[in-house]
Symmetry: C2
Subunit: 223 residues, 2 copies
């Protein structure tokens, strides 16, 4: 699993810098420091490597469930913004998802998956009275997801993603008043610093889960 | 001028289908039905052709000024959505603007120009009391422009732009309540059918301007 992870991380770096077309397996090999055999064992083609990187965007590293499902949507958006600036796996996924050629190769499943995840949270939010009565969860999920992507692209082009969390926070400031019940809106936290907090919380949760799994292995081995 | 236009339209078709890298001057030549000499007279390189197509995105074909500057922002967004589905010059511009390689070649001037145009309209809107007191025209212009682009990308990926005006209309439904004074908001027209109306009005204005210019030429020639 560690070899697989090292290969994926090297592939993410290369895809992030060069895009799919210009990336070569040779460069992934030399950055990962693994043998050709090991790489092909895990990923039989450049396409399989890209697929592996793309799949990683949906690992939140243990997002904490919140009582407010709108807060969960906000946390997903701001947490991903933070990780996009600090984790090549996430930024490489974004670059790959937006390449015209990639849509031909992999379809649009990654794009619609973001809408689906958001829609599910909006449905739960509506079920517990967080959304205004006129809100259609599917429609709002589409708009939120698409707008998030547009902000990511503008921030990348205009500031090298320096201002990404500030802009995503501003996006939520513009979007949330049209869907949230006022009493919920006033309690939501969507300042730019929320991105780091959420990502850090996720990292700690993932580390704790890993430590627990290792401890369980030790217990099993000694039993 | 007609030759130049024919070349640009052929180039737009080719860029729209293949992107910058895969497009060839040979294919533009054969579609435009002009001589190599004529093409190179107007556009000395593939880069100059792309630049010509990119510049076209800012020709609105005579946008009508409105008493409400917020209505002008809406009309720009919905009119462009309509034209993006019916004018390869506009959709080719969008494809070119978003290619990673193009940013290296042309910089980010086209992206920031959209923010600047929108910001100017928001400033005027604020000056005449259309915006809520807390609204920062620069910040809102950035978010509106970026979100518009994200919606365009999602619509292209998920429906081949079939639903673009419906989604842009939905975007405005989500964004406008957070910036518009209620009395202005209730009078804004931002249904999806507005895109066609605005584009048609622009087309008629442009045709009238052209007819007037031709009439003036006739008068001059006979004088």
């Amino acid at each position: 699993m560690r070899t697989r992870r090292a290969i994926l991380e090297a592939a993410a770096d290369v895809f992030d810098e060069r895009g799919f077309q210009a990336a070569t397996i040779g460069e992934v090999l030399s950055r990962a420091g693994v043998t050709k055999g090991a790489l092909y064992f895990h990923f039989p083609s450049k396409q399989a490597l890209a697929q592996g990187v793309l799949d990683e965007q949906f690992r939140y590293g243990g997002m904490t469930p919140r009582a407010s499902k709108l807060q969960e949507v906000v946390d997903m958006g701001l947490g991903l913004a933070y990780r996009m600036r600090h984790d090549p796996m996430v930024s490489a996924s974004a670059r790959l998802s937006l390449e015209a050629q990639m849509v031909e190769v992999f379809g649009t499943g990654y794009t619609s998956a973001w809408v689906t995840v958001t829609e599910q949270l909006f449905r739960e939010a509506k079920g517990q009275g967080e959304l205004l009565p006129h809100v259609d969860p599917a429609e709002s999920a589409w708009v939120f997801s698409a707008a998030w992507t547009g902000v990511q692209i503008y921030s990348q082009q205009l500031s090298g993603r320096e201002d990404l969390e500030v802009r995503i926070s501003s996006l939520f400031t513009h979007l949330l008043p049209s869907i949230a019940v006022p009493a919920v809106l006033s309690r939501l936290e969507f300042g730019p610093e929320r991105g780091f907090q959420v990502a850090e919380e996720g990292r700690q949760l993932a580390a704790a889960a890993e430590a627990a799994a290792e401890a369980a292995d030790v217990v099993k081995a000694s039993a």
